[in-house]
């Protein structure tokens, strides 16, 4: 197992990813017991924020990685192999606006452009391009829900699992852009040169 280095996302996918690795025979005890450490040489695990996983895997600093499809959609230009849909971490990329008459639709109708706040500027840009609507994408880093409540934007494009955060802020889903789950990704060169180790892992994954 130590032959492969796996990039593991801290955050929403962290626990389920470690549970999966346990079932695959990777000992994650040290990772679970240590919040600050980032590199676990013995287990072959490195931990990072989910949006950094493709960066490490593309460069070959990790052979494999686990991250959400939402991250992969946003970073679609990266040279990676997407090997397996791991089936956990379900969430949906949505367009949401404040409840009542849709202010984004009204802005589009009367002003020709709607302003959309998002952490996923490329996914959002692509969506509005494909659906033929003019949108000004406002990139924010956190708490996207604040934008339509303060007049920064008419709507948001964001990821939601249960919809609870949207509801609490008085927002409703207007459109679904994409479904997301956790994905196993691989560095293309590792996929060729460490074929046996990777295929063994994939077989065990099929079995659990």
């Amino acid at each position: 197992m130590n032959e492969l280095r796996i990039a593991v996302p801290r955050g929403a996918l962290f626990r389920e990813t470690l549970d999966l690795l346990d079932r695959l025979g990777v000992n994650t005890a040290e990772v679970r017991s240590n919040d600050r450490k980032l590199l676990f040489e013995h287990a072959g695990i490195i931990t990072m924020r989910p949006s950094d996983v493709p960066t490490y895997v593309e460069a070959g600093a990790a052979d494999l990685g686990i991250t959400g499809k939402d991250v992969l959609l946003e970073q679609s230009e990266r040279e990676l192999y997407e090997l397996v849909d791991l089936g956990y971490g379900h969430c949906t990329m949505v367009l949401a606006t404040v409840d009542g008459e849709d202010p984004a639709a009204e802005a589009l109708r009367r002003l020709g452009v709607m302003r959309i706040a998002t952490k996923y500027p490329r996914v959002a840009t692509r969506h509005f391009l494909e659906t033929g609507r003019q949108a000004e994408i406002v990139e924010v880093r956190g708490s996207v829900e604040l934008a339509p409540l303060t007049g920064l934007a008419e709507g948001i494009v964001d990821l939601t699992a249960s919809g609870a955060t949207l509801r609490e802020n008085g927002l409703v889903v207007r459109e679904e852009l994409a479904r997301s789950t956790a994905r196993l990704i691989a560095n293309p060169v590792s996929h060729k040169l460490k074929a046996k180790a990777i295929d063994t892992l994939l077989e065990r994954l099929d079995a659990v």
């Binding site: 990676l80 192999y81 090997l83 397996v84 560095n187 293309p188 060169v189 996929h191 060729k192 460490k194």
Partner: protein
């Protein structure tokens, strides 16, 4: 006040330049010794020249107008200019023809280490030599050049651009839109997306499994033994090439059925150079038996291009990883 240089370009200073020069000199000696004479062509070509190649990706990204209003492009590879050169300067010469080059090409890539918008390629083209002999010769020169450069742990992935389209033919997947989407997922390396597309075809479970397994099949000669049926033809071609290789070259080869043509003009065997010390391919090559015909001199051809900057990174990474 600091004057910048364009994104994706960089300056090379003497320490690096000395190392690059020493490396390319060793590679050039291998090319010349094998009978490949060095050529140089203009960095600017007419747009129409590159349009003949019908490239899917890697098309020229930078255009300028000349004083007459013609559109010129900065070349995005050397294979297309050499195809033009053969058809114009050597239109009656007896094949086979052998050329090598050390020249910059230009693409609108996302800049990062080893991926520049202006990049030096070292490569050869063998014009007028059929497979398997021509392909085996080029693979031999490739390995000799990598040896001379000083790489120790490299591998060469060998696949066939016609393999997957032939497999789709045999399984009677004819719908052009479906085929396009399937090949796009393959080029993107998205096996989850591939599974969605294949599931939508309504094939038998065995046939669907074959479409999913083939692109992930890679390894030593043993991976070819288990294959037959619809894949027999492409696999026969790979076996024939492999059988012609000397042991020191053959041991470098990984059969890689997942290699798909990233450049539009590849027709048969395709190969990529990998090194475990570096996470991105160092070079790419393959057969382009239809390209010369586009320039009016139909001849089978095969060649490769090494990315010199990546070769240098791989060499340095290997040295750093080696025990003292």
């Amino acid at each position: 006040m600091v004057d910048r240089i364009p994104s994706g370009t960089r300056d090379v200073l003497p320490d690096e330049m000395r190392e690059l020069r020493a490396m390319t000199d060793r590679v050039r000696a291998v090319f010349e010794h094998a009978g490949y004479g060095e050529v140089y062509t203009p960095a600017l070509e007419y747009e129409a020249t590159f349009a003949r190649a019908h490239m899917d990706s890697g098309r020229p990204a930078y255009r300028v107008f000349d004083e007459h209003g013609n559109v010129l492009v900065l070349r995005s590879d050397m294979t297309v200019p050499i195809a033009r050169l053969v058809a114009t300067r050597y239109h009656e010469a007896e094949p086979p023809l052998r050329f090598c080059y050390f020249a910059h090409a230009y693409r609108g890539v996302r800049p990062q280490r080893g991926q520049s918008r202006e990049f030096l390629q070292a490569g050869i083209e063998l014009i007028g030599a059929e497979s398997p002999e021509g392909t085996a010769e080029v693979l031999t020169v490739l390995c000799n050049a990598l040896d001379a450069a000083g790489l120790q742990t490299y591998r060469v992935g060998l696949g066939d651009a016609s393999l997957y389209p032939a497999l789709l033919d045999r399984l009677d997947v004819q719908d052009a839109e479906h085929r396009e989407r399937i090949l796009t997922e393959l080029v993107d390396g998205d096996f989850v997306g591939l599974q969605h597309e294949v599931t939508g075809l309504g094939l038998s479970p065995d046939d669907a499994a074959l479409l999913l397994e083939v692109p992930q099949t890679r390894g030593g000669p043993e991976v070819l033994q288990s294959l037959s049926g619809p894949l027999e033809h492409a696999v026969t071609g790979m076996r024939a090439v492999h059988a012609l290789l000397a042991p020191n070259v053959a041991e470098r080869i990984i059969f890689d059925l997942g290699l798909v043509r990233s450049l539009g003009y590849y027709t048969g065997a395709i190969f990529q150079v990998y090194d475990p010390a570096y996470g991105v391919p160092i070079g790419i090559g393959g057969r382009y038996d239809e390209l010369l015909g586009q320039f009016g001199r139909p001849l089978p051809a095969v060649g490769f291009a090494l990315n010199v900057e990546r070769l240098h990174i791989a060499l340095t990474s290997e040295e750093q990883g080696r025990p003292e």
